[in-house]
Amino acid sequence: MSASTDLLATGARQRRGRRRIVNRIMLGLAGGAAVVAIIPLAWIIAYVFVQGIQAISLEFFTGLPTPVGVPGGGIANAIVGSIITVGLGLLLAAPVGMLVGFYASARPRSRASIAIRFITDTVAGVPSIVMGIFAYTIVVLPQGHFSAFSGGVVLAFIMLPIIIRSTEEMLKLVPGALREGSLALGAPEWRTTWRVLLPAAMSGIVTGLMLAIARAAGEAAPMLFTAFGNPNMSTDLEQPIATLPHTIFVYANSPYPDWQAKAWGTALVLIVLVLVLNILARSLVGWRSRGMGAVR
């Protein structure tokens, strides 16, 4: 009997040893996966910085594109174009997105709110290239020409779900007592929203707007057949216009080394813009706050 318990004990000990080893291996692999996951980020950012910094000069920000082989020149037209299209998109999307966010957060468990959330997430999942075709059919086709306006419209569609969801999430964080207190004092719903909820959730809503801007500023695909690109400086909403991501795409696919160098320079400008917006946005709502994921 004592022999058999001994045997059992040995078996259990061996099993425990093996379980411990498996534990170590699998947890080690999980840690390794985390390392592998952040290597590309470090690599991309480092490479863009090293390559991009060589193309950057004051003229890069103030000059216009030069023909192949002509030294100098810059991307002023693309910077202006990105500001115009993203600004127009924000102008179109922010009011609507915030209103929908108000509506969905007022009664979060109602059927209407659940439906809005579902539809919003569906819109967020539509590929940007499909959004581009949509804008092409409703703006470019009727007008008969590519335009900065149509680019702004696409970016509005892309920003809309981000703004809705962040407004909603941030309003949900406002303590219910604030809203109830305001309503109990006799303020109507619209005044409560405008004077109480909006100020209380402002930093969160601004965060959402910044994430939306960061996302829209990087969209190249839908620009191919809406804003279209323009080698000249243009501020006309009715004319084709250059944008930063589209400029990268065109320069990167060219066979000329000096254009490729400009692609890296433009990428540096874009990535700094996007990362700064993201980091600012996160620091506004606190580093640890979740649910504002950049997750698309």
Partner: protein, 323 residues
């Protein structure tokens, strides 16, 4: 301020009804809110309708054979979407093949193992990776990732496993493999961040119970946490799939844009999104444009279905976790 106006004169019946509608401004406010919300619904319906109407020519000409017809010949006016459907499915599958184990591993590490001083900055880095624009991935992919990693990897695979049709030569840099691997990097943050959130939403009692019974950390993860968060994790994966299906610019820059229908991963390919990006502005005939829009329609429907599934799964885990 309002006290003076409290004793209101009695209004006539139509005025009363008007006041009931007005509700101190809340009536119009609610109408505006509902109107804005309907705009979002209208957007989804509008996309579907616009794609459907504008692909009319192509749908009439080819019907459902559009989906499995392998010929794409703009000159002869024959359009079949199969080469693109095939490329999209192959590259998305490849992306998930690499991104799912890596993403889950990283999520387990971030949610269960890492101390706060690692978890917060690494979590932030992962989310920043999700924010890098697609065109920057494409640029890096074209000039760095493909020549430095993918091409040598392709040559190694071809010399060792070249007898398999999957790794048949000749070896190109831009290829389905390049697109699949780049997509894996791009969907990795999506899968990691969402499944990390799923793990962190699981009540501590689940872990403690398992550990108290003598299970190791890994056994707890595998036997308790993964089954508990199953639908949320699956939702995260599906959401990653949705992003891979619709990814355009980065794929266009590294896949080689080639119509050949070969099984080899080392061969250049084409995807639905990249053919739209490449050929839309060059499409000269109405039928050509219509066929490209129909590809957009197919892509739209695919991502719609995939997204709906993902949301139902993630929503369900949210409901069970918060219940």
């Amino acid at each position: 301020m309002t006290f003076t106006s409290l004793p209101r004169p009695r209004a006539s019946a139509p005025m009363g009804r008007l006041r009931a509608l007005w509700q101190h401004g809340d009536g119009p406010f609610r109408i505006i809110l509902i109107g804005a919300s309907l705009l979002v619904l209208l957007l989804v319906l509008g996309i579907g309708a616009a794609l459907w109407l504008n692909s009319d020519l192509s749908r009439q000409a080819f019907g459902f054979t559009f989906l499995w017809n392998t010929t794409w010949d703009p000159v002869k006016g024959i359009f079949g979407a199969f080469p693109f459907l095939y490329g999209t499915l192959v590259t998305s599958f490849l992306a998930l093949l690499f991104a799912v184990p890596l993403g889950l591993g990283a999520a387990i590490f971030l949610a269960e193992l890492a101390p706060t001083w690692i978890r917060v900055p690494v979590g932030l880095l992962v989310e920043l990776l999700a924010a890098v624009p697609s065109v920057v991935f494409g640029l890096w992919g074209l000039f760095v990732f493909v020549p430095v990693i993918v091409k040598p990897l392709g040559i190694a695979l071809n010399t060792s496993l070249g007898f398999l049709p999957l790794f048949a030569g000749p070896v190109y840099g831009p290829s389905r493999l390049a697109a699949g691997l780049l997509l894996a990097i791009m969907v990795l943050p999506t899968i990691t961040a969402i499944s990390r959130d799923v793990f962190r939403a699981i009540p501590a009692a689940q872990r403690e119970g398992s550990l108290a019974l003598g299970a190791t950390r890994w056994e707890t993860v595998r036997r308790v946490l993964i089954p508990y968060g199953r639908s949320g994790i699956f939702g995260a994966i599906i959401l990653g799939l949705s992003r891979a299906l619709g990814e355009t610019i980065a794929v266009t820059m590294v896949i080689g844009n080639n119509l050949d229908l070969t099984p080899s991963l080392l061969h250049p390919g084409y995807t639905m999104a990249s053919v739209i990006a490449n050929e839309f502005t060059e499409a000269t005939t109405p039928l050509y444009v219509s066929a490209l829009i129909e590809i957009g329609l197919v892509l739209f429907v695919m991502t719609l279905i995939v997204n709906a599934i993902a949301q139902l799964l993630i929503h369900r885990v949210g409901a069970t976790v918060h219940a």
